[in-house]
Symmetry: C2
Subunit: 247 residues, 2 copies
Amino acid sequence: MSKKIYVTGLGPGLYEHMTEAAKQSLTEADVIVGYKTYIDIIADLIEEGKEVRSSGMRKEIDRCQECLDLAEAGKTVTLVSSGDAGVYGMAGIMMELVEKSKSEVEVVVVPGISAANAAASTLGAPLMHDYCVISLSDLMTDWEVIKKRLHCAGEGDFIVSLYNPKSKGRPDNIVEAQKILLEYKDKDTPVGIVRNAKRANESYVITTLEKMCDAEIDMFSMVIIGNSKTYITEDHLKMITPRGYAL
Amino acid sequence: MSKKIYVTGLGPGLYEHMTEAAKQSLTEADVIVGYKTYIDIIADLIEEGKEVRSSGMRKEIDRCQECLDLAEAGKTVTLVSSGDAGVYGMAGIMMELVEKSKSEVEVVVVPGISAANAAASTLGAPLMHDYCVISLSDLMTDWEVIKKRLHCAGEGDFIVSLYNPKSKGRPDNIVEAQKILLEYKDKDTPVGIVRNAKRANESYVITTLEKMCDAEIDMFSMVIIGNSKTYITEDHLKMITPRGYAL
């Protein structure tokens, strides 16, 4: 019996940015498990008759337990996650659950294009130098820890990618993040905000650290703040962080 | 005339982690340009008769100038890069050159699985929380800047992904990086080192911050150092950074 769970990153949403390995993990699965929105996105890739179990948001632990139970019963299970399953995705919790259960089930993480990398490609080349990835969601992380990290990111002149920048429940975290970064970064530091990166309804704006909160930012947005060398192209359409080549 | 340059991230090396969009950019190109090693890897994906221009290492600027010249002459060009072209890859320099030349050529960055995400998936789920990506190469970046960033990464309790951790020309940067991080992180902090992530000859070790420099580390390695909550599984085969779910 296989007793295997794939945790698959689907990439940023459209088929074209999904990998062959991700597709193979769908084919190989006896059962595909995931959050309903993601299951809907990959519907065309799922063979007719394949067992699919979709569930609502914030059911992460239940969903992983379901995967574990199915795998323990001998099924090959593929748990899908958007972006890269290993970045604020389902890979960690699935592995934690297997570990705590002292199960012998093998968990294979299939990497995907992360939301930060997807958004960066839309913006041009903002992540060409050292960068930090920080989630502004304080649902499971102490806000003081997040603030401390923002200070460190600012002090180190890192490029900063902000996941979960804003939701209805926490509209002010992004404003506080901006204030902290303004202590270290110039007010004209380029900022790119991408909504629905690489999806059909993608949109983006290029702005500055001082003005970023005037832009529309929501839970489908990725915010990328440059370092001290990042600049905006003359046509105002892209942002570039030089790597250091003498051109 | 199209006047378009794709800068394509091939992912970590094997076809299975390449995206459909990356493959399409090879098909669409009149000319494919890249570092010889990467051109060799994708040889089977290049149609017979397609023009290919490969070059040696450290010819980045020449390679980009060649792409620009070809595009200005009306060719659709695809410049390939390993991993994600937008992370220490060819996207930035290509865009910089187009910008400085005041060219009208359109540059489209096609994202790929980055080396950090690829290595993380092999190690389990180390990047499940806020993390920094830092290159230890001081060829184009002042070593003092890199050290400062290591201090900030340590102080912020970030997970740290180290690109270019070691080469023959700079064998000691990784030792100094370790020393800096030991000022902030416990000596038993889990560390994963992946060589040739997702390639046929992939290998990895899981060790600790105190012992990491005993392991083989070279320019084909990615080093991922955990945060204060990262742990190693009981079988010593994987590392997991909890996201914060109460299991």
